[in-house]
C-alpha cells in the first residue's frame, strides 16, 4: 500500500501530535515522536490496510510514546503521568508476551491485538470502557480483562518484591 505522508499528515497529523503531546507533556518531544509515528507507518506500509486509520495511528502513537517514557525515567508530575510511567515501565508479562510486545507495532498495523501496555493506557488513562477498548484493539472483552488482570498482578508482585 503506497502511503502519501503529506496527505496522511494533513488528515491526521494534528491528531497524532496532540496524542503525543498529551502522553509526553513536552512539545519538542511530541513533535519528534510524531515524525517517528509516520516513519513506523511508512516502514510497515505493506500491512496498513485501513481506510480510516485514526484508531491505528493513535495506537501507534501510544506505542511510540510509551517506549519513550520508558527510556526517560522521568519523575511524574501528576497522578495521570505517574500511571503512564507505571504502564510504560511494565515489561509486558511473560516471555511469550514479551515476544508479542516486541512485535506490537506490527500487530497494531496488521489489525491484530495491541500490546498490554497500549490496552492499559486506553483503559486507565483514556477512560475507555473495557468494551470500547476491546473494539479498538480487536480483542474480546474477556481478553482485555485478562490482559489487564495480568498487568495488575505483575505490578503487585513487583511491589512485593521491592518491599522484600
Amino acid at each position: 500500500m503506497a502511503i502519501d505522508v503529506e496527505k496522511l499528515y494533513r488528515s491526521h497529523g494534528a491528531m497524532v501530535l496532540r496524542r503525543c503531546r498529551r502522553l509526553l507533556r513536552n512539545d519538542g518531544k511530541a513533535l519528534d515522536a510524531m515524525h517517528d509515528v509516520f516513519v513506523e507507518v511508512l516502514r510497515r506500509r505493506d500491512t496498513l490496510h485501513e481506510d480510516k486509520p485514526a484508531s491505528l495511528l493513535l495506537q501507534v502513537a501510544t506505542h511510540v510514546c510509551l517506549n519513550r517514557l520508558r527510556s526517560e525515567r522521568r519523575h511524574p508530575e501528576d497522578p495521570e503521568q505517574a500511571l503512564l510511567l507505571e504502564i510504560a515501565s511494565n515489561d509486558d508479562e511473560s516471555p511469550e508476551s514479551r515476544a508479542l510486545a516486541r512485535r506490537a507495532l506490527d500487530r497494531l498495523l496488521g489489525r491484530t491485538p495491541a500490546s498490554t501496555r497500549v490496552i492499559a493506557v486506553l483503559h486507565y488513562v483514556d477512560g475507555l470502557t473495557l468494551e470500547e477498548v476491546a473494539a479498538e484493539v480487536g480483542l474480546s472483552v474477556s481478553g482485555v480483562r485478562k490482559r489487564l488482570r495480568g498487568l495488575q498482578e505483575r505490578r503487585q508482585q513487583e511491589r512485593e518484591d521491592a518491599r522484600a
Binding site: E6, F38, V39, K52, A54, S55, L58, L83, A99, G127
Partner: protein, 269 residues
Amino acid sequence: MPVPEERDRVPDWFVERLVANDLPAADAARIRARLEAAGELHRVRELEESNSAILADRSAADVALEVHRRRNQRTDAARERPRTLRAFAPRALAVGSALALGTLIATRWLPIETEGTGALPSVPTEGSSPKEMATIKGLSPHVVVYRKTNASPDRLSASTVVHGGDTLQVTYVAAGRRFGVVASVDAAGSITLHLPERPGPAAPLVGQGETPLPHAFELDDSPGFERFVLVTGDRPFSTTEVVESLRPGGAPLPIDLTASDITLRKAPQ
C-alpha cells in the same frame, strides 16, 4: 492502578476519531449526541481549530521531508548492519551445535533453487565458469537453509513457507571456491550480512560438503520473503560488491563471481 469509573465525559480518543471522520456513522452519531447532551460540542470545534493551527504551523511538505529523511537514515543504517542488529536475533545455539548439525548432513548433489526476485538474475550462476566445472565435478557452490525443529533439521526449499520466530541454520557448499559471502535480503530491501557478519573482505570458504555458518538465526516477522544469497569467487573480493548487487538498480556482480540463492516465502502475520 485505579479502575476508571464509567464517565459521562466522552474520551478524547473518540472525539479525535469523530473529528477525523474515522468513526462508523452510527458511532459518530452516538458520540456527537453524547457531546451535545453534555454541552461539550465545543470540544469538536476546539479540535478543528487546533488542526488548523497545527497545519498552519508546520507544513505537510516539511513533515514529509523529515519523515522520509528519518526513514532513509534508518534504512541506510540497517544496510550492511551485522545480523545481530537487524533481521535476525542471534539464537543461543553454540558454534559447536551448528557444526554438529553440519556433520549430520551428508554431502550430496543439491539443485540450486532460485526465484529471481532481485538484482542477481543477470549474474552468472552455477555452471557458467569453466574453472568452476574443474573444481568439483557435478557440484556447484550453493546455499542451503534448514529450519530447526524438535526432531531433525528440516531442509527448506523455495516453496517452503516460513514464519517469524523460526530458527534457521544456513549452510554453504563451497564446491572448491575459495572466497564467499552469504547475505540475505528481505521484501523491504534490507540487506543483512551473515558471512562475514561485518562489511569487509569475503570470507575464506572451507570444507567440501555443507559448512554451517557459525550461528543459527531466529527469523524476524517482516512480511514478504527472505532471500539468502551465496556469492563465491576464486579471488578475494569485498562484501560491498555483493551488497551493491542486491540493491535495486545496483551494479551487477563482476563476471568472475558466482551467485546462488534461495528465497523463502514468509507467512503473513
